[in-house]
């Protein structure tokens, strides 16, 4: 399968150019930007702070609340601003992807708010959002077991590829496109989130997870660098 060509000429296990930056929103307790090629996500973290509405307070542990939002100008055809079925799903998914590593049990009755905004989109927005959110949480000084890194794996016809773009998501040849966003901890030991949209065999799914393990390691290095460099810059 060496003859497989991706629309933008990348190798099958190559992600787009990535960039991460910490501290992009001065008013937030923690903030970060993460970019996969044309997909840009910014995340802001506020808290731990008192939970409102009060009936959502949990007296046993702190609550993580994520809000994913795609800005109306992020895609070529303007999308209707405001919450949608898609955005509430991704908000919930982001919460689940992050909550295994976030240690906020010692902050009862409080909430940690994570606001993710997609300012420019070309597929893999939830992955960019999760990467940015993990960075922003660390930047906000919230105790975490580990960082998480997220990447989307795709199956185009029968070929597995890393980090899909919009053009690949709409692949129509052969078996069509399957989109599998995967989130992992830094050492690739634990998988905190996996979604599957399309069809794939069990064997290939395992291969996809292996590909994600490799890709998330590179993403982790970029996240690590961003956090460490945010301090050196000021000196």
């Amino acid at each position: 399968m060496t003859t497989f060509k991706r629309p933008d000429g990348r190798k099958i296990d190559e992600t787009r150019e990535m960039e991460a930056k910490v501290g992009v929103i001065p008013n937030a307790d923690g903030s970060a930007m993460f970019r996969f090629g044309d997909t840009i996500a910014i995340a802001a973290v506020y808290g731990p702070k008192e939970m409102h509405p009060q009936h959502q307070q949990n007296p046993e542990k702190g609550v993580l609340r994520c809000t994913y939002n795609m800005l109306s100008f992020s895609v070529t055809e303007r999308i209707r601003p405001g919450p949608s079925r898609r955005s509430s799903e991704i908000s919930k998914i982001t919460e689940w992807a992050l909550s295994p590593v976030v240690m906020i049990d010692n902050f009862p009755n409080t909430v940690v708010d994570v606001h993710i905004n997609i300012i420019q989109a070309n597929a893999s927005t939830r992955c960019a959002g999760i990467n940015a959110a993990a960075l922003a949480l660390a930047h906000a000084g919230i105790p975490m077991k580990d960082l998480v890194s997220s990447v989307s794996i795709g199956k185009l016809d029968k070929q597995l590829v890393v980090d899909l773009i919009k053009e690949e998501e709409d692949w129509e040849e052969g078996e069509g496109a399957t989109d599998i966003p995967i989130t992992m901890t830094s050492n690739g030991e634990k998988l905190t989130h996996i979604q599957l949209d399309g069809k794939i065999s069990g064997k290939q799914l395992k291969e996809a997870v292996e590909l994600a393990r490799k890709a998330t390691k590179n993403i982790y290095e970029i996240q690590k660098k961003a956090l460490k460099e945010s301090l050196e810059k000021k000196e």
Partner: protein, 228 residues
């Protein structure tokens, strides 16, 4: 691992700081299979066997005995609710104010929006109790208040208060540093207050630099040169 004496390394959550049985996990760290792992983003510091991580960001976590500056948010029949810019609210009881209070008119003593210097009396699950029964505590009447991250307060105070007393001497201002990151500055002239504010912001931005007291001294000299 590349640890040297007194050297501070930037660490991120999940990063292994040291491995082996010789080390003990301190604040902001956890022991996982013989490895000391950081849980927060900050500076790792070794003190003998103990390894801890000094946080660089995060909200204020109240401790008993802390002097804080808060804003009166509401009045109840037996005290004041004080916002202390933390994850929990503060409560100042009537009994903890050492002066005569007309129970029918609490607003006479402190009204909504007033700033107050108080001490943390006890930390409970749901909120903390404050007291005014100590020296230097009470309602703030004049001056200005600035806010910095609470995790940077130790740097603004300096070793045994060296930093804040230097800023006080240089600017001739009265400064009270609340552990929650609110700082009250009061001087005769507004220029002095602004100079003190700039100095504190200078310190807060460079909270991880070594020999900061000397750098601030230089900064003050530069500022004086500009004025003349």
């Amino acid at each position: 691992m590349t640890e040297k004496e007194n050297e501070r390394n930037v660490v991120i959550p999940g990063e292994v700081i040291a491995s082996g049985d010789d080390y003990l996990p301190g604040e902001g760290t956890e022991k996982r299979n013989k490895e000391i792992v950081s849980l927060i983003f900050g500076l790792a510091e070794e003190a003998g066997k103990l390894i801890k991580v000094i946080p660089l960001s995060g909200v204020y976590e109240p401790r008993r005995g802390n002097v804080i500056i808060g804003r009166v948010e509401n009045l109840t029949f037996n005290g004041w609710i004080i916002n202390i810019s933390s994850s929990v609210g503060g409560f100042l009881s009537l009994m903890e104010v050492p002066r005569y209070i007309n129970k029918d008119d609490l607003a006479e003593v402190m009204d909504i929006g007033d700033m107050v210097v108080a001490k943390v009396w006890s930390v409970k699950r749901k909120g903390i109790d404050l007291t005014l029964k100590s020296k230097g505590l009470g309602k703030l009447e004049d001056g200005m208040i600035i806010q910095i991250n609470s995790k940077k307060v130790p740097r603004v105070i300096g070793k045994e208060g060296s930093m804040v007393s230097m800023i006080k001497d240089e600017t001739k201002c009265n400064i009270t540093v609340g552990q929650n990151g609110l700082i009250w500055i009061s001087g005769d002239k507004i220029e002095d207050e602004l100079l003190a504010k700039d100095a504190i912001m200078f310190v807060a931005q460079r909270s991880f630099v070594h020999g900061l007291t000397d750098k601030v001294k230089e900064w003050f000299e530069d500022k004086k040169g500009e004025r003349k």
